[in-house]
């Protein structure tokens, strides 16, 4: 997986494939901030999602630290959500449009994105089965049918892949701590 900074550099050079990868990498994160953090729905959620990536595309050249793509996108998304909530008619006038607990949700999503980065280092089989079971909420039976394995094997494979993920994730945390990065 390309580091974020390299991805940003390629996008700036007009590499459309790199832009596609950037959107793929962060689409879940932006979507989750919009829907879980700010509880936007339907057209509002879609408009904000598109606005965030449009602004990111237009302003990539202004990003000072190419490695800081994630927090930059998070801030773009927060701002877009707040603008949308402020523009909506409300019964009571209030300066604070942010839903309660939004900071906690965003902290959780940051951790979730770090776990997805660790997930990307696992085998295709593990990535797929963990994503299907946890993120797509598919049943053992559905997964077994799609992947052509007995339902009874699905549970043991998920368990094994989770253990691989735990090791990968902890390894990354330890590397980051040793190099002084905050994760």
């Amino acid at each position: 997986m390309l580091p974020d900074a390299e991805l940003v550099r390629r996008c700036r050079d007009g590499d459309a494939l790199a832009w596609g990868e950037l959107v793929e990498r962060f689409s879940r994160y932006v979507y989750a901030i919009v829907v879980q953090g700010y509880r936007l729905r339907d057209h509002d959620a879609e408009d904000v999602f598109q606005d965030v990536f449009a602004k990111a595309y237009e302003n990539l050249g202004r990003l000072r630290d190419d490695g800081a793509l994630r927090p930059w996108l998070a801030q773009l998304t927060r701002n877009a959500c707040i603008d949308r909530l402020r523009s909506a008619p409300r019964e009571e006038a209030s300066e604070d449009v942010e839903p309660p607990g939004v900071d906690d949700t965003l902290a959780l999503l940051d951790d979730a994105l770090a776990v997805r980065e660790a997930l990307a280092a696992l085998s295709d089989d593990c990535r797929e089965i963990l994503d299907r079971f946890f993120a797509l909420d598919e049943s053992y039976r559905t997964i077994g049918g799609e992947l052509g394995i007995p339902s009874g094997t699905v549970a043991s494979r998920i368990s094994r892949c989770l253990e691989y993920l735990r090791k990968e994730f902890l390894g990354r945390k330890q590397e980051a701590a040793a190099s002084g990065e905050v994760q």
């Binding site: 007009g14 459309a16 832009w19 596609g20 959107v23 793929e24 689409s27 879940r28 994160y29 932006v30 979507y31 989750a32 879980q36 879609e46 999602f49 598109q50 990536f53 449009a54 595309y57 959780l108 999503l109 951790d111 979730a112 994105l113 776990v115 997805r116 997930l119 963990l130 994503d131 946890f134 993120a135 797509l136 909420d137 989770l162 253990e163 993920l165 735990r166 994730f169 902890l170 945390k173």
Partner: protein
């Protein structure tokens, strides 16, 4: 998460990021293409006064008559570009 990175916590974090609707992702991925089309339309409008007048008068019809895509986000972006002069 500290060294108590439990399987349960990992499961919770995996559940926290379901995929965005595929159509939304693909629309965002096509932004460079939209931007390119936008640049071409604006360049043509700058070089062709009649085309620019037609765009200003009725954006959607002018795009359709010119055989160009009448996609809402492209139209909105073009409208903003034309308004900005």
């Amino acid at each position: 998460m500290t060294d108590g990175a439990t399987i349960g916590r990992l499961a919770e974090l995996l559940r926290a990021l379901p995929p965005a609707p595929r159509g939304w992702v693909e629309a965002a991925q096509h932004l460079p293409l939209v931007q390119h089309e936008l640049d071409e339309i604006v360049a043509r409008a700058e070089a062709d006064a009649a085309f620019r007048e037609a765009l200003v008068a009725d954006l959607e019809s002018a795009l359709a008559q010119a055989g160009l895509r009448v996609e809402p986000r492209l139209v909105d972006a073009l409208r903003r570009r034309l308004a900005a002069g």
